[in-house]
């Protein structure tokens, strides 16, 4: 109960972005799929990142944390580096320069689970007509679930009773735990204490990308290097950062676009499609071998000579 109260408090807390001074650079985080305990923890994480960038570039960096997409989009003009969920990055922020990806024990991507309340059924077909809650963001997660968990056999809307959105994963998990929803989708690592109904293919972790043109040259190189070498833990699944992987970042979108496994009509093989080609029988040869009298040796053989020579032995 204490945990739920704290969570509710965190939902109520709104992080107000501080204004960056004219000489300062801003790194902002909007990653609703990452389970920060609360806004303070999210702020602390981005502040540590800003400090790391300051150390690396010699510039002054400030960190900003956003809980809603709209707030994040409004502030983007003043943001130099963003840390966003990979599906959001791929779907909404194309054109940015990727610097790195957050990483954990399984690298820069991680499986996701469709999870239900502890003790509930672990069979997906038992959740037909039930309530699904998903983290709001790019909306890619809906298509992702349709293509993977439902194998495109049905749409989310037709299969579940309702499909709602939560501000972030913590809210979604709380909704399931509190019985306000039956299922939600979360990274492996957040499913502890829930029933796993379906495990998805791996999905990319958040991407660190350059969002402004204020940084270039040697400073940009330093920044890139710092972005790839962050040794800062966050939530329970982030422990550092690594080089950007376009493939891993696009995992969710790629999986979402897969088609329903179907078969096409096949024709039957006919037994007599092949026919014999040699049709005209040749008559037996009547022309015999041609004698070449020069080929016949009528002299003595070496054999008799060899016998005599061998006798000398």
């Amino acid at each position: 109960m204490k945990r739920i109260v704290l969570l509710l408090l965190s939902l109520a807390f709104c992080v107000t972005p501080s204004l960056a001074s004219a000489q300062s650079y801003v790194v902002a985080i909007f990653a609703p799929s990452i389970d920060f305990k609360d806004g303070a923890e999210r702020n602390e994480y981005v502040s540590k990142v800003a400090a790391a960038f300051s150390r690396a570039t010699g510039l002054s960096w400030n960190g900003q944390a956003f809980a809603r997409a709209s707030d994040f989009e409004s502030a983007r003009a003043n943001v130099d580096v963003v840390i966003v969920d990979s599906d959001y990055y791929i779907s909404k922020l194309s054109g940015l320069t990727p610097l790195a990806m957050l990483s954990g024990s399984s690298g820069v991507s991680r499986r996701m689970h469709l999870i239900a309340k502890k003790g509930a059924s672990d069979k997906l077909y038992n959740y037909r007509g039930k309530r699904l809650v998903l983290v709001s963001g790019s909306g890619q997660n809906k298509k992702f679930l349709e293509a993977t968990a439902l194998a495109n056999e049905a749409s989310l809307g037709s299969y579940f009773g309702s499909v709602d959105e939560a501000r972030d994963v913590r809210s979604a998990l709380n909704a399931v735990e509190l019985g306000k929803a039956d299922l939600t989708l979360a990274y492996d690592g957040y499913a502890s204490g829930f029933t796993n109904v379906y495990t998805s293919p791996s999905v990319g972790l958040p991407v660190i990308a350059l969002s402004s043109s204020r940084i270039s040259g040697a400073t940009l190189e330093k920044l890139k290097s710092a972005a790839k070498g962050l040794g800062i833990s966050a939530s329970s699944i982030i422990s550092s950062s690594s080089a950007y992987s376009a493939g891993e970042a696009a995992n969710m979108r790629n999986a979402s676009s897969s088609q329903k496994t179907t078969m096409s009509y096949a024709l039957m093989d006919t037994q007599t499609t092949r026919v014999q080609v040699y049709s005209t029988p040749l008559l037996p040869k009547r022309n015999p071998l041609t004698l070449n009298p020069a080929m016949v040796y009528t002299g003595p053989t070496l054999n008799s000579l060899d016998k005599k020579l061998d006798r000398k032995l």
Binding site: Y265, G299, K312
Partner: protein, 809 residues
């Protein structure tokens, strides 16, 4: 230790002895004075008693009596004569010479005294004077047998065999029952290597004394020299019966069998000898070699190894073991061993044998170099020079071989083997020239070979071949008949004869001659040429399988006649095609392809036509199409008669093949065009059926479903009665949106449990939203044999179960 049979036989010749027994000639009486006559008669009596009692003492008394007679009557010539004899018999030849000269001083013309002077001179060692005196004696009187005998001995000692033989013959004529005459004669003949004479004189000896051991053994040798091995062995056996201590005779008997190639009999004798003398190395060696000659390699290996256990350093035997490895086919092992042994040994025989082994294993240059070194170290050794020449012959360097052989002959004119080699090298050289078409050189070389008088028959046959090739048929026949007159059934004559028969198209006669040739002996006698001729004959008689087999034998002996090989391969290919043995067909076509340029035009058409079918099977459609065009063209260039020989009716229709190739290579329109022009008869109908099916599948794949439907339905109208035809037409119609009542139609096919039908019905149901029913048919499809894309179906079923639950399946 190197033992050879030859050396053994030579050693055996120690039995040759000439026993010079004392001569006794009956004295004749001559009367002078009464007193002298009494002494003379007394002397005669003593001589008789000496003879009767075999006591020389009486001859001493006789001597005294004759001396007394001469004293009483110094002119008594007969007493001088008897004294001359007695002194000769008492071996008091010095005195004999003095007394005879004394007598001759009184009676210059007395031939009898000259006779005894001669005998005593011979006994005294004054051989030249004795020869001169006795020669005068036999010129004056022909009845002094002993003079002939002594003259014979003198001639024999001088190596004048001819004179010796004449004198001994004269002696024998006068003393036909004197065995010494024949012994002497046989010795002369044997020394002179006159086998016939030796045999005749030995026969006389054995007639007079059948137990004569030496003569019996020598008769064995004579028979052996004549090649009458069985007879030789009989005499050796008889001699051994006479003297069982002469165990060496068993060795001689075994050796005779060995040299005559009767290895089994030889082994028995060597075994017998080894049972008597367990350490008889010669017997052990030749017994092992007999096994080798018989091809009993394991036994030979064991026997040679046993010898090696006794004599570990016997390198020659080690080489024999290497030879066994070679004969077992382990050439690499044999070569390695041989080379190692070669380095170990400095013995000439070892090195030579190693060289021979290397040559047999195809290392001619190596053999040549070894023999070159051996000759260099011992340039006067004619044997080594001939071995070197042999290597040159093997390497077809006939001029080098001939040069060496000529040098040997220059130094050893009577070396028969050298002459034989020279003749052989010339014949080989001529044959090479003949093959290369240089008939002038060939003829010259054959003539040279003929002049050596070594291979008369072969030389004549070779010259006949040249005349034949020069179109001088009459000359060729003359030479052939000359060869026939020498040896009608000689292998060369039989081969040449069969060539003439073939040219005169008398195949039966050729076959008979070759049959005789075949009965003469093994493959080596028949030779590659013999097998080739048999193949030719059998091809004329239409017996192609036999012809093929015989040509194969010829080829196995190094014979190459590209035209014949190609023709035989083609015939085999035709047989294989007829029997539907495609692998065999391809193999023979590949063989024929190597020599295809040698094929006659008619055979070239056959070859190309068969090659087309092979190419089509190998899906080489482009090549097949091009070759088929060539077949069409070259067939039309044949005469009408030839066309009739190729195919029935002389019409070769390749349109069917062309249509087929177009079908298989995807040129469907071209195929359809040809088929349309043939108005759909017989095989073309089947071809169109195949084509329509193929087109149906092709257009279906390209999603041209209406077109596919037309092709499948046409296939049905052409007689495509299979379920597949109807099913495929139904699926095409379904996809084209033309299938009436698709659910029932597809369900009907699915009921037959045909995998494609089960799948089609499952897909139809799935697409119609009948998920649970669809899952059931997907599952049945999965369980049916022959289900394609099973992994995809499994995945579909897993997804459906996860999403819809177990009831979906």
């Amino acid at each position: 230790m190197k033992r050879t049979i030859k050396s053994v036989l030579m050693r055996a010749s120690v039995f040759w002895v000439l026993l010079a027994l004392p001569v006794y000639v009956q004295a004749q009486s001559h009367y002078a004075t009464n007193q002298a006559q009494e002494h003379y008669d007394e002397g005669i009596n003593y001589e008789r008693r000496a003879e009767q009692q075999d006591d020389l003492e009486f001859l001493h008394s006789a001597k005294k009596s004759y001396e007394a007679a001469i004293k009483a009557d110094p002119n008594m010539q007969s007493a001088y004569a008897r004294l001359g004899y007695v002194l000769y018999a008492l071996q008091q030849s010095g005195e004999g010479i003095t007394r005879m000269r004394e007598g001759l001083a009184r009676h210059v013309e007395n031939v009898e005294l000259q006779h005894y002077l001669g005998l005593n001179l011979f006994q005294h060692g004054d051989v030249d004077e004795a020869e001169a005196v006795l020669t005068q004696v036999v010129e004056k009187r022909k009845d002094f047998a002993e003079a002939y005998f002594v003259l014979g001995k003198i001639a024999l000692d001088k190596g004048d065999y001819e004179s010796a033989q004449e004198h001994f013959a004269s002696y024998a004529a006068q003393t036909p029952n004197d065995i010494r005459a024949y012994r002497a004669l046989s010795k002369v003949y044997i020394e002179a290597r006159n086998v016939e004479g030796a045999e005749s004189s030995l026969e006389q000896i054995l007639k007079l004394d059948s137990k004569d051991f030496v003569a019996t053994v020598n008769m064995g040798h004579v028979k052996f020299e004549k090649g009458e091995i069985d007879e030789a062995v009989k005499y050796y056996e008889r001699a051994y019966e006479m003297n069982k201590k002469q165990v060496e005779l068993i060795y001689i008997i075994g050796s005779a069998y060995y040299l005559s190639g009767q290895y089994d009999n030889a082994i028995k004798r060597f075994d017998e000898l080894i049972s008597l003398q367990s350490k008889h190395l010669g017997a052990a060696y030749f017994r092992a070699d007999c096994y080798l000659k018989l091809g009993k390699l394991d036994e030979a290996h064991k026997a040679f190894t046993e010898i090696l256990n006794e004599k570990p350093d016997y390198l020659y035997v080690k080489l024999k073991l290497a030879e066994i490895e070679h004969l077992r086919g382990n050439n690499s092992e044999a070569e390695t061993r041989t080379r190692l042994l070669l380095n170990e040994s400095s013995n000439v025989d070892d090195k030579h044998f190693a060289a021979v082994l290397l040559r047999r294993m195809g290392n001619i240059d190596e053999s040549l170099n070894i023999h070159k070194d051996l000759v260099k170290a011992d340039p006067k050794n004619e044997r080594l020079s001939l071995y070197l020449a042999r290597d040159y012959i093997e390497g077809r360097s006939y001029d080098e071989a001939l040069l060496i052989i000529s040098e040997v002959i220059d130094q050893h004119f009577s070396n028969e083997l050298a002459w034989e080699m020279m003749s052989l090298a010339l014949l080989y050289k001529g044959y090479d020239a003949m093959l290369s078409g240089d008939l002038v050189s060939a003829r010259e070389t054959f003539e040279q070979a003929r002049s050596t008088e070594q291979h008369n028959v072969e030389s004549l046959c070779s010259l006949s071949q040249i005349a034949m090739l020069e179109a001088n048929f009459e000359g060729a026949l003359d030479l052939y008949h000359e060869a026939v007159s020498i040896a009608e059934e000689h292998p060369s004559v039989l081969k040449l004869g069969s060539i003439f028969d073939l040219l005169m198209e008398d195949y039966g006669a050729a076959q008979r001659k070759l049959h005789v040739l075949q009965n003469l002996g093994d493959d080596k006698i028949i030779g590659a040429g013999g097998w080739y001729l048999m193949a030719i004959v059998n091809s004329h008689l239409g017996n192609w399988p036999l012809a093929s087999e015989q040509l194969k034998k010829a080829e196995g002996m190094g014979f190459v006649d590209m035209a014949a090989s190609a023709a035989i391969a083609l015939q085999n290919a035709m047989d294989a095609a007829k029997a539907g043995k495609h692998d065999e067909l391809d193999k023979e076509l590949t063989k024929a392809d190597m020599f295809k340029d040698m094929l006659e035009p008619i055979d070239r058409v056959r070859f190309n036509y068969l090659s087309v079918s092979s190419m089509v099977r190998q899906r080489k459609y482009s090549q097949a199409k091009s070759l088929l065009e060539d077949v069409k063209r070259s067939f039309n260039n044949l005469s009408a008669e030839q066309r009739g020989e190729v195919v029935e009716g002389g019409q070769l229709d390749v349109d069917y093949e062309l249509a087929y190739i177009n079908l298989e290579s995807g040129s469907y329109d071209a195929a359809l065009k040809i088929i349309a022009s043939k108005r759909g008869g017989g095989e073309y109908k089947n071809l169109e059926l195949a084509l329509r099916r193929r087109l149906g599948a092709d257009t279906f794949k390209n999603k041209r479903y209406s077109q596919a439907s037309i092709h499948f339905n046409t296939a049905i109208s052409l007689g495509g009665t299979e379920t597949a035809d109807a099913f495929n037409a139904a699926i095409a119609d379904l996809m084209a949106g033309k299938l009436r009542d698709p659910e029932n139609t597809l369900e009907r096919y699915a009921r037959q449990n045909i995998p494609e039908a089960l799948l089609a019905y499952a897909i139809f149901l799935d697409n119609s939203g009948q998920t649970a029913k669809a899952s059931g048919y997907f599952a049945r499809y999965l369980n049916s044999t022959g289900g394609r894309k099973a992994e995809d179906v499994k995945k579909i079923l897993q997804n459906k179960e996860r999403v819809w639950g177990p009831s979906a399946n």
